[in-house]
Amino acid sequence: MRRFSLSSLLSESLKGHRGWGRQWRDPQPKPAYDVVIVGGGGHGLATAYYLATVHGITNVAVVEKGWIGGGNTGRNTTIIRSNYLYDESAALYEHALKLWEGLSQELNYNVMFSQRGVLMLAHTLHDVQSFKRHIYANRLNGIDNEWLTKEQCKDFCPPLEIAGSLRYPVLGGALQRRAGTARHDAVAWGYARGANARGVDIIQNCAVTGIRRDAAGAAIGVETTRGFIKAGRIGVVAAGHTSTVMAMADLRMPLESYPLQALVSEPVKPVFPCVVMSNAVHAYISQSDKGELVIGAGTDQYTSYSQQGGLHITTHTLDAICELFPQFTRMRMLRSWGGIVDVTPDRSPIIGKTPVNNLFVNCGWGTGGFKATPGSGHVFAHTLATGEPHPINAPFTLDRFRTGRLIDEAAAAAVAH
């Protein structure tokens, strides 16, 4: 792997950049791998990377039906935070946040992790109570999260309207300063490059069409559009398509796949210094390095694989944005798009074993999976390598829906993202 650095960049710039090689190979699938990962998004690629770097397992294939990072990795609003309420979630997302903090250096790929702070606005007394519950829980879990008065909110985010005349006046906010955003595509590419360099095969344009099982029912490999690939263990990391893939092993999942929309404005000079989320009015917004306002909208109410939602979801979101930031009505929507998010009944992920031997799953990230990418890959790699969950993902079992030990952040906090 050619190391990225300022000096390599400068030296290449004198040579017309002819010296840069491929960031990852385009291999033909081998007949067999120790581990086959189904899904070449951020989570799948991170899993492969950590299998190689942490567990020394390099005979690994990542099988992707399209192009890597083309699903929710490349379609999300890139918010990264860890100020979750429950111990289980807090541990998982904080694990990820700590990995984010060194990820560019770890991968030798600038993923532009920007700790600009995520400010969640409280508009009702109920919000205030809920946010303080989070802040105190986070404090005891060693996670930064602090209460800001509305004036402090305005100082932190000057475009914010805090007048009492708002339909839902801002009463204050919870700020996680270590939270922020990152460059989504770079995460996929950085993990792919790192995994590739350690021998992982990244196989694009290769759709899984079946999961082959032996007489005892254990999974032994995947049928693909490029032939059968034998696998010691299979990890399915297929986001919105998980139900479809798991059905190939006759497994029915507690998942539903919904369209989730997002949009960006035309690029403008720096005007928005942080990430603002407002659950009460359903909006979140930040500004990308390129200058676009990045705005997350909601999910449509019906399941769909179309990556396209209704206009009313967009207008509803912009109603809220312009209520909080009235000066933005003259900004223009440049691009909108949809992703397919797989949602579990408690809106927390499922990471671990399945009833089928050698088949593992990492899914159900709903609308908030991007932030977990490094942590998710790290603990799932552990699970695939050892056959047992890492302590951090141990609570995120499929079985919790039977026992009732749900991890329902949304119910507890009414936080959508």
Binding site: S243, P254, H312, R402
Partner: protein
């Protein structure tokens, strides 16, 4: 915004409706007789097909009636709508 044919009111915009998820999941007659796993299956496991899906809709801001629909989740095209309790004339990929 989808256009949905309410069996009572005809074509109406989606914002008048509420989607109720997968159709044809009858509440068990005797929930106490179910194992925890069976009850979890009833509560949580859902067909999530890429293709034709039988689902419930309520014309909440219209006639207020629940009904069922077959919709292709790839094209979002409705194949048919039919009353609660009835079966579709076409088949869905998701047989509950």
């Amino acid at each position: 915004m989808l256009l949905i044919a309410c069996p009572h009111c005809g074509n109406r915009p989606e914002t008048e409706f509420r989607c109720g998820g997968q159709a044809h999941i009858a509440r068990p007659a005797d929930p106490a007789a179910l194992s925890d796993a069976q009850w979890a299956e009833h509560l949580f496991v859902r067909a999530n097909p890429r293709g034709v899906h039988a689902e419930r809709w309520c014309h909440a801001h219209g006639c207020g009636r629940w009904f069922n629909a077959l919709r292709d989740t790839v094209s979002d095209r409705f194949l048919e709508t039919y009353p609660t309790g009835a079966q579709p004339t076409q088949t869905s990929d998701a047989r509950a």
